[in-house]
């Protein structure tokens, strides 16, 4: 006997299978597929199958169409023996990869996107561990919205600019893609970066996230003993239009001061702030304020400017990442490559919808917030009930754990 969950997953798998049957050309394995490790989660077995290798992109596609995985992955690394156990693979190089995830960004809505539901009785109170009616364990559901996805996209754009403008990556060597759920993946294939080891990647991550940044070394006010007037040496003072962190920090500091409200933590400098606000035109006069003021201001500027990438993903030279052009098993959306010039206007909640839009399916929805997907608006469903939805939307709710396919 199969329960409602199995029935629902069997349905989703059928939909995935038909998609891959008709569109397997969309699956896009990375360069040199023969040197990669592949892996996937299957619908049936709750474990990862790893250490697979294929001779060509065609073979990869055929395998995906045959297996119909819930999630499909490929290694960032190039190996001599991709299917050997990890210690014997013979690491040669690895793409430089980045993961930008909506919930690592400072967007206020992220905290409101966690729901607890009972699959039968619907929405539960915050913090509930079990359903008060039937005692089933609460299921935690992560949601995303336009706001947090746009924030992730904006962060992606910033990263691309820094990689190209400062770190020596060519635009043509970059691949940007939507993950199919809540973020973006950025892959640099530049030959000089492929051979960076773990330590070098760690340093590169530090550059992007401003970990270990020491303002004095960048020609910004710094402390020795942390008292008195700031000291500036080593470098010429930063200019407004300067590339790199010197420019970004100084521009941000300036705009913090220009904003009407006195920034938190700087209340006691309100007088000085007014003065600087008016006097600062070309170059700030560092001597008008004590070091404590600058330190706090710059800390805030650095905090706001630092990129929010997942440091673990970038430093892990054996990482598997989602295979472009496959369906994400948490949403049914396509993990889709995005040409750089399209990034600014990219709308993942529309352009990554690839499952059938016309055909409908009856689902029992436990709970659903109002949402927009595939160009349609869906109202909130606050009490459990049965509805007809386009297949892509039904699959979306099923994979989020909010709905079940009805018999």
């Amino acid at each position: 006997m199969s329960g409602p969950v199995e029935r629902s997953m069997a349905f989703v798998k059928r939909v995935f299978r038909e998609f891959y049957r008709d569109n397997v050309g969309v699956v896009s394995p990375p360069p040199r597929p023969e040197a990669r490790e592949f892996g996937y989660w299957s619908f049936e077995r709750g474990e990862m199958v790893r250490h697979l290798s294929f001779r060509s992109a065609e073979e990869v596609r055929a395998e995906i169409a045959k297996v119909v995985p819930l999630h499909a992955y490929r290694s960032a690394a190039y190996y001599q023996y991709p299917s050997a156990p990890m210690e014997e693979k013979g690491w040669q190089a690895a793409d430089l990869i980045f993961d930008i995830d909506a919930d690592h960004l400072d967007v206020p809505c992220v905290t409101q996107h966690v729901y607890r539901v009972c699959p039968v009785h619907g929405l539960l109170d915050d913090g509930a561990k079990t359903c008060p009616v039937c005692g089933t364990g609460a299921r935690e559901v992560d949601w995303v919205c336009d706001i947090c996805l746009s924030a992730a996209r904006a962060e992606t754009t910033r990263l691309v600019e820094i990689l190209v403008g400062e770190l020596g990556v060519n635009e043509g060597e970059l691949e940007v893609g939507f993950s199919g759920n809540r973020g973006y993946h950025i892959v640099a294939y530049s030959p000089d970066h492929l051979t960076l080891d773990q330590m070098a990647r760690k340093d590169l991550v530090g550059y992007l996230t401003c970990v270990g940044l020491s303002p004095g070394l960048l020609g910004l006010p710094w402390k020795r003993g942390g008292r008195g007037r700031p000291r500036l040496d080593l470098l010429p003072p930063p200019a407004f239009n300067e590339p790199g962190w010197r420019g970004r920090i100084i521009r941000r500091a300036y705009s913090i001061l220009q904003s009407q409200a006195v920034p938190p933590g700087l209340e006691r400098y309100a007088g000085i702030i007014r003065e600087i606000r008016d006097a600062w035109s070309v170059e700030p006069d560092w001597t008008v304020a004590p070091l404590g003021f600058w330190t706090r201001l710059l800390d805030e500027a650095i905090r706001m400017e630092a990129l929010r990438i997942d440091p673990v993903v970038t430093t892990d030279i054996h990482r598997l990442l989602r295979l472009s052009g496959t369906l994400n098993g948490k949403t049914g959306l396509l993990a889709k490559k995005i040409p750089l010039e399209m990034l600014e206007d990219f709308d993942p909640l529309n352009e990554c919808v690839v499952l059938p839009r016309e055909e409908r399916v009856r689902v029992r929805v436990a709970y659903s917030p109002a949402f927009r997907l595939g160009g349609e608006e869906f109202d909130e469903i606050s009490e459990p009930r049965s509805v007809m939805l386009p297949i892509y939307a039904g699959v979306y709710l099923v994979l989020k754990g909010l709905a079940r396919i009805e018999a």
Binding site: L167, G168, T195, D203, Y207, L217
Partner: protein, 369 residues
């Protein structure tokens, strides 16, 4: 390229391509090397390796007056090290040789250093345009900079504290020389990898044997380091240890953190020194002094506690941002918690067993402070 061709240049920088073919260009066959004709060269080669082995970072290999001997002895030294095939010795020797080159580089015109990096070491370097020389007279291609400096453990080398523009990192001539030392060390090590396991001519095996014996004496610590149990260790410390054992150079801060952690957890100073001995720049006297310092016996009598998780994070030493250690604020807390849990498990399992009881009461728990 031409300015690197002189005999004197080859003597100072014997790793460069022109010196590489020295043996073959002169038509010297490998098994001739043991003959009396090359006595001075072999002796000098032996000296190079032994000085490195004994002194590590402080080795004074110097510059032998006869340039031909200097070039040939480097090639023979490489042969010795490659035939012995010990990674630690190789790293220590490469370190000493690269520091030797560094001393000469400091005296060179910056343009020679740049040329050496470009032509011999495959590093992209350019002089800064006049308008930008205030940021550093030279610029190094960012990925090359990262590869060569990421193991230098000091804030001013971190990329985030550098001026970086259009793929280039700005550096001073002095910094350029330092980068060259790193690149030379890498180059010598890759030459070692290529030549590894090359059999020595019979006539040289006696000399190699002497080196091997000296090495064994120096390396008596190694066994001990491998034996330090990492049961209950937090992921960050286990990682540092693993890297040390693999012969990777870990930063000074990581060394300090590991030592402070081990000492607080109750490991002996000998065990800690054994860990340090994995570094290619190991100096027993200094290691002992530092360890005693951390343990609180020397100098200020301040006993260092291991750095907190947030400090570990700042230095990029925390593993997976602490996802593996929920609720832990300090690595030592992880260790104590795991040890306590293990003790409780033991207690439950061996409730009637006298010996078990004694075990869980003593050992690691007794050492926590």
């Amino acid at each position: 390229m031409s300015m690197l061709r002189s005999e004197r240049m080859l003597a100072k920088y014997p790793f460069i391509a022109a010196a590489r073919d020295y043996l073959s260009r002169r038509g010297i066959a490998l098994d001739e090397l043991g003959s009396g004709r090359f006595g001075r060269d072999v002796e000098r080669a032996y000296e190079r390796v032994v000085e490195a082995l004994k002194m590590g970072e402080d080795a004074e290999i110097g510059l032998y007056p006869d340039e031909e001997v200097e070039v040939l002895s480097f090639a023979i030294a490489l042969l010795f090290v490659a035939s012995i095939g010990d990674g630690w010795l190789a790293r220590r020797w490469a370190l000493a040789e690269s520091l030797r080159c560094g001393r000469f580089l400091e005296e060179e015109e910056p343009e020679i250093v740049a040329e050496l990096l470009r032509a011999e070491l495959g590093i992209k370097v350019e002089p800064s345009p006049p308008g930008e020389s205030g940021l550093g007279a030279y610029k190094v291609w960012a990925p090359h900079y990262l590869t060569l400096t990421s193991r230098i453990d000091s804030l001013e080398w971190k990329l985030v504290n550098r001026v970086v523009r259009g793929g280039w990192v700005y550096v001073t001539p002095k910094e350029l020389a330092r980068i060259a030392v790193e690149a030379i060390q890498k180059r010598i090590l890759s030459r070692y990898e290529d030549a590894r396991g090359t059999p020595l001519p019979d006539s040289l095996t006696a000399v190699a044997k002497r080196i091997r014996e000296m090495l064994a004496e120096k390396r008596s610590f190694e066994v001990e380091a491998g034996q330090v149990s990492e049961e209950y260790w937090p992921p960050c410390m286990a990682k540092i240890k693993k890297e040390l054992l693999a012969g990777l150079s870990v930063g000074h801060f990581a060394n300090f953190a590991l030592a402070a952690f081990m000492l607080t957890a109750g490991y002996t100073q000998e065990q800690v020194i054994a860990m340090y001995s994995q570094r290619s720049d190991f100096n027993e006297k200094i290691a002992r002094y530092q360890t005693e310092h951390i343990a609180g016996q020397k100098g200020s009598r301040v006993k260092y506690t291991p750095p907190s998780c947030s400090t570990m994070k700042t230095h990029g030493l925390c593993v997976e941002e602490g996802r593996l250690c929920p609720g832990i604020k300090n690595p030592i807390q992880y260790y104590r918690r795991e040890a306590r849990r293990a003790a409780q498990r033991k207690k439950i399992e061996g409730r009637n067993d006298e010996e078990e009881k004694r075990d869980s009461g003593g050992g690691f728990l007794a050492t926590s402070t």
